[in-house]
Amino acid sequence: MKKLNRRNFIKGSLAGGIATVAASGKAKKASAAGGDFGGYPESMGVLVDMTKCVGCRTCEAACNKEQGLPEPDKPFDDYSVFDEHRHGGLPRRTTEKAYTVVNRYNVEGRDHPLFRKFQCNHCNEPACLTSCFVNAYTKTPEGAVIYNPKVCVGCRTCMVACPFYVPAYSFTSAINPVVKKCIMCYDTRLKFGRPPACVESCPQGVMTFGKRKDLIALAHQKIEGNPGKYVDHLYGEHEVGGTSWMYLSDVPFDKIGFDMHLGKEPIISYVKDFLAMVPMVLCIWPALFTGFHLLSTRKQANKEESPKA
């Protein structure tokens, strides 16, 4: 809430429309980011137990119907998609037509392949949100990271910033291209206290919907209660400042395409070095360079004065 007020305040201060004011407002935001936001305490989340997923793709179908997405290229019960690869031999990813995809990983030493559901992780401090210069993204108190297509300019910085490569863009549209990503069914379900469509549709109960803090406790209890079953890591608990979607696996996460080098800091913290420098330049530069000017033109000034004297 504090964050929102501050943003409103800055909006007000910008009404003057002076760049320098904007820049100092920015500095304030930088310090706000410095004080670790950490997410809304009551926010909801989803715990994904990947050991249970059988790769039926029902969640993909449910997402498609719930979000009114275009017809898929192949039926949702066509499992040949698991053999598809995008550029660079990489597994399928979210697109403008699919906000979630399930990928199959054949892991050595595991009897069955492991299936991994992929969608927006709904970060506590989303990189897309903090990098957006028109404030198109909002982290709702319920935990969803939602997007306002009406103000999006289409700079696509959010796609550059997202550490999980989630946002897709309707490159095919010339008239109204927008970012396409999972919004945790905010409009149709989450807002009314209901779980996302994919969670509800899952026949295997892979996903548990609940308060994020409860899910964290539950996940750790699952890890401890089943010694040897799970890898002792809850992916998303701390990654890039914590995410609303979290994952349990029985094989090391880096073997199933999870980036294990993201660190615990939210992405905005990497930008702070620069943001901290902004007010410094704004305050010091004018004085410094006026001083330089006076010094370097002193001789000239003296020359001009001396004939008079």
Partner: protein, 173 residues
Amino acid sequence: MGLKTGKQVGLAALIAMAAPLVLPFSVHGEVFELSSLANLYEGVSFDHDMHIEALEDDCSLCHHHTAGTPPEEPTCIPCHKNSPEADSPACSSCHLIEPFSSANLAISEKNPLLHHKAKPGLKAAFHQNCMGCHQETGGPVGCQDCHAMTEKGEKFYNTGKYAPKPHTETGHH
């Protein structure tokens, strides 16, 4: 700031249609229809007798501790090792049809026992219970091996007569 677009697809019907499961069956000699959740798929004709035979009368393999036998799950044992037979051994007496509805979430939040929060919903309980065993014992594991897809299901999965027309356009990579 909220999105006003986004179609309301009546997926809620998927689960909400299901009526509480009341199964009039005796322990032996029954083939009954598990159809309370039937929606995208038809109900399952479940041969209870055959399963009892195949599992050599070990009820607990499916009915955890509710049939009076000790539980198998390591997380259940500490509390339930001496639990008596439950009033109803039916899956639906414990496993909720809507585990994540606001009302049910409010109840489970008050429950201090974390393990119960991980309790799967009815649909998940069916599938986990059946599939877990079928994978090990060579039972049917394909979706339509147990229940045929309904027309609604074909629409949902964009398959059958609702399958996308084959086209060469691969879309954007």
